[in-house]
């Protein structure tokens, strides 16, 4: 940590690895969950707010308070369209934050909800969204206990933005974090990839696909609770959101300073999702998900973990997709179906459909 005695403590803490230039602007890709998001955090937020809890770079912060272990996390939701097959911005706003708490190994308890509404938003629409939130909260077993409402001028918001913050309780002695990864640990995923990404893209861009692909949006605290109660020695959990499986794996490898080896044949992608990817030139590994997560466990716990994941209604295609290597650089390699290997990289910008 920089010496705060010399000069302005904030600007001293804000020394970036590469200085920010006056021409740089926030791009949509800075919010895409890929390399640029990562860069923004590394260059701006981490140096500015530097502290031990933040530096762990988990989905939320875990800390002791009055004899209890608590987790806190926050997330904002700016999705368009507001309603899409399989969910809406309300279900996302509840499940997303519930899932971030679950990834800390916490039992989600309370949520706050902040609404930024655009002037002119039909109240009926807002009502539908709020009802969705209530339904999702009931399903996940959390209570929305405080909130805030702001309205911005017409044209200055996209209908509705929602922020939710969640608090949860850790009722076990496991330490769930990237630095717990050990060589030989197995990496599991709770099902097929990419349904949320394609559902959003198809409804946003008006793509007429043969079938309606529904988002996989779901709360994960139930299944995580099952794993904890079953005594699985969970080393790490990570939900797959905007940057997809690729970003989650690369972040995990970098945070854990471990080499991860993934086998493509274990990764399930539904036929219709794969078809949409072929048309749009997208890699399913980079597609967004809202109900999928990785769990890393010691090899002897892997079969039981797989069995528990598969028992959930959305987990029938759960699989062991790889392991933590004995040694090697902090990156992810993928064994392709052809038996060749390639590396897995984070998406470097926004996911853009290719030309041909």
């Amino acid at each position: 940590m920089a010496d705060p005695e010399n000069g302005n403590p904030l600007s001293r803490g804000l020394v970036c690895p590469t200085p920010l230039s006056a021409e740089e602007r926030v791009l949509l890709a800075h919010g895409g969950g890929g390399r640029l998001t990562h860069e923004l955090i590394e260059r701006l937020f981490l140096p500015a707010f530097r502290n031990d809890l933040l530096s762990r770079r988990h989905d939320g912060a875990v800390f002791d308070l009055g004899g209890s272990r608590l987790a806190i996390t926050t997330d904002s939701y700016v999705v368009q369209p507001l309603f899409f097959p399989g969910g809406d911005i309300g279900t996302l706003a509840v499940n997303g934050t519930v899932n971030d708490l679950a990834m800390c190994g916490a039992r989600p308890l309370y949520l706050s909800a902040g609404f930024i509404l655009e002037e002119g938003l039909p109240l009926q629409l807002l009502e539908q969204i709020v009802i969705s939130m209530r339904r999702a909260a009931d399903l996940a077993g959390v209570t929305i206990v405080t909130g805030d409402t702001k309205v911005v001028d017409r044209g200055k918001g996209d209908g509705i933005f929602i922020n939710t913050t969640g608090i949860g309780l850790l009722e076990h002695s496991l330490v769930i974090a990237p630095d717990r990864l050990l060589p030989g640990d197995q990496i599991l995923i709770n099902g097929d990839l990419g349904r949320h990404g394609i559902a959003i893209m198809a409804s946003r861009e008006g793509l007429n696909l043969e079938t309606v692909i529904e988002s996989d949006c779901a709360a994960l605290n139930g299944v995580v609770g099952d794993l904890i109660r079953a005594g699985i020695e969970i080393h790490c959990l990570r939900d797959l959101t905007r940057g997809g499986l690729a970003s989650a794996l690369v972040e995990l490898a970098e945070a854990a300073h471990r080499h991860l080896e993934i086998d493509e044949s274990g990764i399930a992608v539904r036929e219709d999702v794969q078809g949409a990817c072929e048309i749009l030139g997208l890699d399913p590994l980079h597609l967004a998900n809202e109900g999928r997560f990785l769990v890393v466990v010691p090899a002897n716990d892997a079969p039981r973990t797989l069995d528990l994941l598969r028992r959930t209604p959305t987990g029938t295609t759960a699989a062991i997709i790889g392991h933590v290597a004995e040694s090697g650089p902090s990156r992810v390699t993928l064994k392709t179906r052809l038996g060749t290997t390639r590396i897995v990289e984070m998406l470097s910008g926004e996911q853009l459909p290719r030309i041909c």
């Binding site: 602007r25 793509l207 650089p329 902090s330 052809l338 038996g339 926004e350 459909p353």
Partner: protein, 366 residues
């Protein structure tokens, strides 16, 4: 995806790799033309399956990558005008001009939209009669028919607030430029399947005969590529130089005559500057006199200058098959997909970007 799975079958792939291994008695360098093929080769690790002497080099076939810097600067100027709705295929947005890119124009208030088809622009033009709708018409022969159709329809329907910024390039002229290079070491080509689906095989027969080079029209799936390589090697080992069609499920010898007629109606052949390579005579398309009122350069009274490219980047040599991405001193260091210096790092189909994303070579700094 049953149809596609057939072309990704591991057992069949291994059999083809064994056949390639048996047939190759000497070192050979083969170039695949299309960026889609490069992407598949690297994504599926095809090079790993080839014997040591067989080298694949990656051609200039990513239209996003070869769009000249000067034209991108003009696109940025047009997109920054308040009356303009600038429409583009998605992956053009990130391409750096000499000082800016379209994504940043969008971030600073420009109306830049991603479309999936140029015909979508006509709809936008009708819905916004007070605005000027400009489409960035880039691509090889593959995208030319749809772009021609958009212009022809605009003319027919009297949609006057629509224009296109044309950067169409043609594959055979690029192949000629590569073969004419004194340093050339490409012994055979995998021609771009989708380009041939439009244009047919006609133009390639004279190329193969004149330069005594085998040309195999090839698809994009792993088995297509392996079979294309095998067919090309067979010709090389037998000292043959023919045009063969591996991708017969999509490519007819005569191509798509209706699409060809549409291209001829709207476009005419012209000299084009290729980013990273330079000017290639008769290597592109421009609007014919009948349609040049739809030319965005004319409509906005612009002229195109070619600003200098990065001096470190060796993309021109990479796209001519003389060097590989890892030979570049900037690769993976100063030049990365989020901050590309040169053409092939720009689109996911560019050779450098594909290598960066899928191989270890871009990550030597750990």
């Amino acid at each position: 995806m049953k149809f596609l799975d057939e072309y990704r079958d591991p057992t069949a792939a291994r059999e083809l790799a064994r056949a390639i291994d048996r047939i190759a008695t000497r070192p050979w360098t083969i170039m695949e033309i299309c960026g889609g093929q490069t992407h598949s080769i690297v994504r599926y690790g095809i090079t790993e399956m080839l014997p040591e002497g067989v080298t694949l080099v990656h051609g200039p076939g990513c239209p996003v990558c070869v769009t000249p810097l000067g034209l991108i600067d003009q696109a940025i100027l047009i997109a920054s005008r308040p009356e303009v709705i600038f429409c583009s295929f998605g992956d053009m947005l990130r391409v750096p001009g000499s000082r800016n890119n379209l994504q940043r124009v969008k971030a600073t208030g420009g109306d830049v939209r991603v479309v999936y088809s140029p015909l979508d622009c006509l709809k936008i033009a009708r819905e916004n009669p007070e605005r000027e709708i400009v489409f960035f018409a880039i691509g090889f022969e593959t995208t030319a028919p749809a772009n021609a159709m958009a212009v022809a329809q605009a003319a027919e329907l009297g949609i006057d607030n629509f224009s296109i910024l044309v950067s169409h390039v043609l594959v055979p002229s690029a192949m000629e430029a590569i073969l004419d290079d004194r340093e050339n070491r490409v012994a055979g080509f995998l021609a771009a399947g989708h380009v041939c689906a439009i244009m047919g095989l006609g133009q390639y027969h004279s190329l193969a005969a004149r330069y005594r080079v085998p040309i195999v029209v090839t698809g994009f799936e792993p088995l297509d590529l392996l079979q294309g390589i095998l067919m090309c090697l067979r010709q090389l080992e037998d000292s043959r130089h023919e045009v063969e069609n591996q991708y017969a499920r999509s490519v007819r010898p005569e191509g798509n005559p209706a699409a060809q007629r549409l291209i001829e109606q709207v476009f005419t052949v012209t000299d084009r500057h290729w980013r990273g390579i330079g000017l290639i005579p008769q290597s592109g398309l421009r609007l014919t006199a009948d349609y040049d009122r739809f030319d965005a350069i004319k409509r906005f009274h612009l002229s195109i200058a070619e600003p200098p490219e990065s001096t470190i980047c060796i993309s021109g040599r990479i796209m001519r098959g003389l060097d590989r991405p890892a030979d570049c001193p900037a690769f993976g260091r100063d030049c990365r997909p989020e901050h590309p210096l040169g053409a092939p790092m720009v689109s996911s189909e560019g050779a450098c970007a594909a290598y960066f994303t899928y191989t270890h070579q871009g990550h030597s700094t750990g």
